[in-house]
Structures are given as C-alpha cells and as structure tokens.
Subunit: 137 residues, 6 copies
C-alpha cells in the first residue's frame, strides 16, 4: 500500500546536494549498514550537519553489536519507546530493523503486548497515586 | 533515603480487609513470586477486584518465563515504557524486578541510553515531518 | 500523610499581594465555589493576571452546571486527562472535585480501569499500526 | 474521504485464517455487538490470540452496561484518553462508538473543550511546579 | 505533495453556515491576520462557538506583538510543544507561522535539535531517577 | 523548602570515584560554566562514561552562544519541552538556567501561558481530527 505524504519541514538532501561533512556521514551509514540505501530520516537531518553527525555517531555506537545488550533486543526497546511516543516513522523503521536482526512475528506481537500492559499499569499507578513501597525507595 | 508520601486515591487493602476474591489474587501473587511481600500497586488496585484479577492474570502470563522473549528483557521493556510515561512507581519497581532477573548496572545504563536516543530521534522525525520511505510502508 | 515540597517557579500570591485584577478573580472563585479557600494553582497563576482571568473564566464556564454534560462526568474526564498527562496536582485536586460532585469510590475505580484499558489499546493500535477501517474514516 | 494507508506491522487475520481460539473471540464480538463487522483492531490483534482474548474480555466487561458509569460516558472517557495519546484509530473508532451510544455533536464538542482545558491547566501546574495544597494530600 | 484526508469529527463550518457569533470571530481573524484565509482549525472549532471565541481571544492576546517575548520566539515555542505532543496539524501550521514571522531554515533546524536534546535528557533524568539538587529546590 | 528524595537508579559518582574519562568531562563542565558545581544529572549519567561524554558534548554545542538562536531563548525552549514531558528535574534546572541567562518572571510566566495554550490547541486539533489545510501541506 502506498500513501502520498506531506513534504518535510526541511528539504530532503540528495547525494548531489550533500556537503562534504554530510557526504562523510552518508558514506559511513552505507559502509556500516552494508547497503546503498540512505533513509529519509538522515536526508532531512542533513540540513543540520552537526546534528546529523552527532546523531549518527550516537546511534552507531549504541545500536551495533559489542555492547551489554543484544542488538535485536535494543531494536525492540527502540520500537517500544517509539510506540509510546507515537512516532509512525520510527515504529515502522525500527520494526523493520528488529526483523532484520532476527525478531519473529511472535516476538514482535509479544513486545506490543508488554508495551500495552505497561501503559495500562503505568496509568493505574499514576491515577490511583500508589505510594512507592519502602522496598523500591 | 525515605520520603513521606501522599495518600493514594483509594485505600490500601490490607490482608485483613481483603475479600475472598482479592485474597485469592494475593495468594497467587505470593506463590508465583515466592515471597510474602505484596507491593502497594496490588493493594490499591484491590479496590476493584475484577481489575485486580484481570491485571494480575495479564502480568503473570506476560512477564513470566516460557514465552518468546527472555524475562529480563521483558522487564527492560517495561522500564523503557515506564520511563517514557514518567511513572516513578513503575520505573522504580520494574528496575528492581529487572535487577532481580539479572540485569546489571551496565545493562540498565545502556537501556536508558537507548531510551534517551529513541526519544531524541522520535522527536526529530515528528518535528521535521520526515516522510516514511517506501521501504518502510 | 504530608510531604514537604519544593517551591513553585513563581511565588504564591497571597490575598495581601493581590492586585485589583487578581483580587477580582479570587473573589469570583470564592463566590462561585461558595468557600473561602483559594487553592495554590490560582495563587501561582496569579503572577500572570491575564492568564489567571482567562483560565478561571474558561473553567468556570466549562465545568459548572447548565451544559450538555453532567458536572460530575466532566470532573471524571478531567481526572482521566490529568492521569494520562501524569499531573499529580491535577489528579489529586480533580479527584477531590469529582468526589465533591458525587463520584463514589466505585466510580473512581471504574474510571481508572477505563483509563488504563484505553492506554493499553491506544498503544496496540499505534504499535501494530492498525489501519483505520473505512467505517471510521 | 478516503486515504490509502500503510500496511499494519502484523497481517490482518481474516475469518478464513482464524484459529479456533481467534474464531471464538470473533464470534463473541459479533454476538455482543449484534453486527457482523469485525474492525481492524481485532483482526491485527488476532496475531497474538492470548492478548486478543484477554483484551476483548477486558473491554467487554468494562465498556458494556451494568456498571457504575453510563456506557456513553465511558466512551467519552475513552475518547478523552485517546485524544491525549494521539491515537487516530482510537479517536475515530471510539467517537463513532460514543455517537452510537447517544452522544450528540454538542456533547462531543464539549468533551473536547474539557480535554483541551485540562491539558492546558495540567501543563501550568507542572511547568509552574504548583505545590499540592494540604487539602489535596 | 497532497494527501486525501479523513473527515473531521465535527463538520467544517463554512462562511455561509457561520452563526453571527462565529462570523464575528472569523472577521476578527481576518482583520488581525490581514488575510482572507481561515484555516481548518477555526472552521472545526466553530462547532462550539464559545470555545472558538475563547480560544481565538487567547491566541490573539498571547501570540501577537507587544508582550515580553518576541512573536517569532513564541512561534518556535509553539512548534516545540506541538512536536512533543506529536500534533501534525500544529507542527505544520506553526512552523509556517514561524517562517512568516522570520524564522530561517537554520533556526528551525536548531530548534528541532534542542527539542530532541531536551527529550533525550528529560528521559535520562526520569529513567535514572536523578534527585533534584538543593540548588534547584 | 526541602524534600528528602529517593535514591537514583544508579549511584551518584563523586569526584573521587570518577574515572579519567569522567573526570575530563567534569573538568570541562566546570570550565565551560565557570563554576565548581556539578549537578546530579551529570553525576548519575557518569555511570555510562560514553553517554556522559556524548550528552555533555551535545548540550555544550547546542546551548551555548554563537548559534542562530539566543541562549536565553534556547533555555526557554528547553523548559517548554521539559514541561510537556513532565520532568521535574529538568523544569527546575532549566528554569534556573533561563533565569541565569536573563529570563524575567514575566517572560517565564508568558512562556508557560504559551506552553499551556499550545497544549490546549494541540489536543483540539487531534481530538477533532482537523484536516491539514493545503496551505500547510
């Protein structure tokens, strides 16, 4: 299914329009991900080259292998946050990334069941003003 | 450190005041968790026995072992959602649960770094109105 | 139970420090509510007399009797929104207002069960990206 | 007006593809609502039959007649929460349900005025850090 | 780019269908903004003439010149809030307003970088439960 | 006013316990801000030295002078976001920073009036499902 969308608030930066600083980030994205595809997020962010460089550096370091959490688990956490924040772009792109890193339909469904249950109990704790037990202080 | 807190919106139900339906849930919590401790969340929720029974049944089924995601991972997801929703009670109780299921300081710090990064990029995608790539549609 | 709290970002305006414009609003609050008590929300808001006057006028018109929704129902809706926004001050003050307008413990518990269920299904619809049925378009 | 939409994260389960457990829930939805129509929410949720059964059971018990709050009022609360959470699917489907249960245009407009006012005063209480009055502790 | 959209929850009120009270607000919008264009927000809000009048009065007083903050800065703050609340309509209309009041691409990009960074550190402070320093109490 | 608080999820790192990488960041904070005071946010974040270094670098570059937006304006934007996200720590620390950079009581009150109005109209646009005007697409 396709949907015509609105234009972004700042233009998509094509490879042709990329400054050397932007081009360097695009190159690193391509090499790190082993693909030629640069998704729209980075092309819009490229309007602010410093923020592009900082944000790519942050995600590259956080989301790759070699840290204390499994890369697929880290994508599931990203999907969970994106769901609570209601970011369509992020839910869709990070669900795709989670699948690519091995998440099954069953795991994605279970993830959403947990996100939903947490949202439910979060509101109960807030709405009923449950006092924090000493054990959790 | 301790803090005197406000009273909850509905009273904490003690073991003595528990109806048979509430008592049955409390007993199952104690048996499932292998502890005598019933935390305040359940004691306040017990004012609505049906909601108490439904919610405990939901969490018991979702958060235990034997599903497609690891119990510790599921607690990390719970902490992530509770952080975005800013539920102090839930952040504290589920961080404690994550530790109990084996989460290290390093993993908890890494979790929060990912939650923070996701919140950052979520807002960039929304604020800049990044169009969803065809690959993610 | 009591809790010492932090100071507000702008000072609480006492009756003595109230300008004539602020005093007029305080008088109307007292008359409308038939009480001498002015709660802290209005005393802090009084630092911006225009916003104070506009906001009081808005709540006075919206939340009183004589509209298409029942005053107690309107307070329940206020509590629901305050719970989702995690506003402790607002949850506590509007739960008190709902009780004053006749809400029972059972109704308040049921309200929170519905708020919780809605938060749960909201996230499922978002996280699973459920397409809007034609019937709802 | 129509809009082509993105595909959901998990497939819509048709009647043909429904497992016996899913079919039983679909049948109960049809009988309870006295209609043949199963909306997309349930068809996507059906990828996780346990969550489907639990969630339907929860909504069936909470949202029907015979509880302490009026069914139309309960739908208004659902719309309020869905608005704060910015769930398009939920705002649209529960506004439709509220209408079906008798909500007038005037009541729906008034509901949104209250949701808006509550969002406004919630942020004022938070941003100005208004201390909770003793009367509300 | 264009997108066919869903219909609003209440009808768009055309100039022809406007009651005298609504017409007076529409006239004031046109005069204040020096344009014939009335955007959809006001046309939908016109279903509740009191809320229309109150809300227009509020925005007219808050967002115009002659206050302690610069009008362009005030639009940037509006965009920041709309981004966190994920309101597509509001992000788009207030980004347009900010541009009209002089915001450059660079300033809009910088705004979003700050919004993103604040969202990141907000979650770190919440998720790690950072205690408020005495200096900030 | 003071309040005893709960302990953070990870320990506060004192100067004595700081690793060389953490010490370097603490030194840069002190030099940049021209004060010996390191607030709790950085001391808790120091449990993840990479995140500490990245986050400090981000804020140092974004929030200082020499960019397209005024430093005081940037703090106001930070307060606006922190208010919507309901981060007590952040509202208090960035309101203090805004004051230090010259924000008056009147400007802070006006900021909160705008944040409140934006939250109000955001929810109206969402709840009433206002279609985006062509002019904003």
């Amino acid at each position: 299914m396709g949907t015509e969308q609105y234009s972004p608030m700042l233009p998509l930066i094509s490879d042709e329009d990329a400054s050397p600083e932007v081009k360097a980030v695009f190159d690193d994205i391509r090499e790190t991900r082993n693909t030629d595809f640069i998704n729209n997020f980075w092309r819009v962010l490229a309007n602010d080259p410093d923020n592009l460089a900082r944000t790519w550096d942050e995600l590259k370091n956080l989301m790759g292998p070699g840290t204390s959490l499994d890369p697929m688990v880290k994508e599931l956490i990203y999907v969970a946050v994106s769901t609570v924040n209601n970011c369509t772009y992020c839910v869709r792109s990070h669900t795709a990334a989670a699948r690519q890193k091995g998440a099954s339909d069953e795991q994605l469904a279970e993830l959403q069941s947990i996100v939903a249950a947490a949202n439910k109990t979060n509101r109960l704790a807030i709405g009923l003003q449950v006092p924090v037990d000493e054990a959790f202080q």
